[in-house]
């Protein structure tokens, strides 16, 4: 039991992202309103961004900006002092992609509303079956 508790507590960032991802998936699958599904999709993508950023962290490390600007060229830089910048770079791209997907999904939701006059999935389905 103590081992299990140690595992859960030491890897809390992984548990965090798993919980977020499951919440997002739950919202996408179970909820009937289209906007709630879109929000669930956004939560799901945010969980993955959270995961990437969390794997770049190191103990006692600071943000990856070398101080003393231009004139400190010979200033020896210890890579151990800085957190890993590559996940941050990748996640800038992923955030932009998630915003773009959100924009397209909302535009489609507006088109659906103009066509069916409702945003609830069961009302739309009943309209489709009648046709």
């Amino acid at each position: 039991m103590v081992d299990l508790l140690t595992i859960i507590i030491s890897k809390y960032n992984y548990w965090g992202y798993i919980v977020l991802m499951m919440i997002g998936l739950y919202a996408m699958i179970v909820k009937k309103n289209l906007v709630k599904k879109i929000i669930g999709m956004s939560i799901f993508q945010t969980a993955i961004i959270f995961f990437y950023v969390s794997i770049g962290m190191k103990k006692n490390a600071t943000i990856p900006i070398i101080s003393h600007g231009h004139d400190g060229g010979e200033h020896a830089v210890h890579a151990v002092d800085f957190i890993n910048p590559l996940p941050h770079v990748l996640m800038l791209t992923a955030i932009v992609v998630s915003v773009a997907t959100l924009g397209v999904a909302l535009a489609l939701a507006i088109k659906i509303y103009q066509q069916y006059n409702s945003l609830e999935e069961d009302e739309i389905d009943s309209q489709i079956k009648v046709k």
């Binding site: 990856p64 070398i66 910048p85 932009v96 992609v97 915003v99 397209v104």
Partner: protein
């Protein structure tokens, strides 16, 4: 640091080492803007649209169907939206005070991306947010007066041309695509500083493009493509 003379490692990696990814990221945001435009934009007005006008002196609201006559003395009547509230002093004045500072901060974030957290994307989003704040606190038509659709589309394409053009320029000057050290010959600096300048040019391009896309997305979504009424 020795390669690019840019202290902010994240910006250096984003715009130089993996600059190709950043160009595609700009293409992603560009295609999202075009997709929104493609899906929603309606050029012609439909038959069922109506417009609301309000007489300023008495507060009576008129409703004019399509094809109806506009009121004769336009000065006494102002066009209102479907969800209209009376002139709100607090919001409008606060907006007018804050928006210039937001824009200056956004430009600072773009330009200072080398030395502090920031860069093209972050600054572009803040700049776009300032325009959206203007559109929310006033109404959509006054925002369209200031930042019309054609102007936004111009900024949009300008931003991406700057990025891709820099890359193409590097090919024309002999090196591989997006190899900024080739810019050293035009800018008369050594190759390392040329990389730093190349990163700055590219970040400016990205910032402009992101700002324009945020604004276009907001315009399209809030007016469902018709560009005349909004929040």
């Amino acid at each position: 640091m020795e390669d690019t003379s840019v202290p902010n490692i994240v910006t250096a990696v984003l715009a130089d080492y993996r600059g190709y990814d950043t160009m595609f990221e700009t293409a992603v945001i560009f295609s999202a803007g075009i997709a929104c435009l493609f899906l929603l934009r309606q050029m012609k007005r439909k038959k069922t649209d109506f417009r609301l006008y309000r007489h300023t002196a008495t507060g009576i609201i008129f409703r004019i169907e399509k094809g109806g006559k506009l009121p004769p003395t336009a000065k006494e009547f102002e066009r209102i939206d479907g969800l209209w509230t009376p002139y709100d002093l607090i919001i409008k004045t606060t907006g007018r005070f804050i928006i210039p500072f937001i824009q200056i901060f956004a430009l600072y974030v773009i330009a200072h991306g080398h030395h502090s957290p920031g860069g093209g994307f972050q600054g572009g989003v803040i700049l776009g947010a300032s325009f959206i704040l203007f559109a929310i606190s006033h109404d959509l038509r006054s925002a369209l007066n200031r930042m019309s659709e054609k102007l936004t589309a111009f900024f949009y394409t300008l931003g991406v041309y700057i990025y891709a053009g820099t890359g193409a320029l590097c090919i024309l000057l002999g090196a591989n695509f997006l190899d900024y050290s080739a810019l050293a010959t035009i800018l008369f600096v050594d190759p390392v500083t040329a990389r730093s300048h190349g990163i700055l040019i590219v970040e400016i391009g990205v910032g402009i493009a992101v700002m324009a896309v945020m604004v276009i997305l907001y315009y399209n979504l809030v007016s469902a493509g018709k560009f005349d009424e909004g929040l």
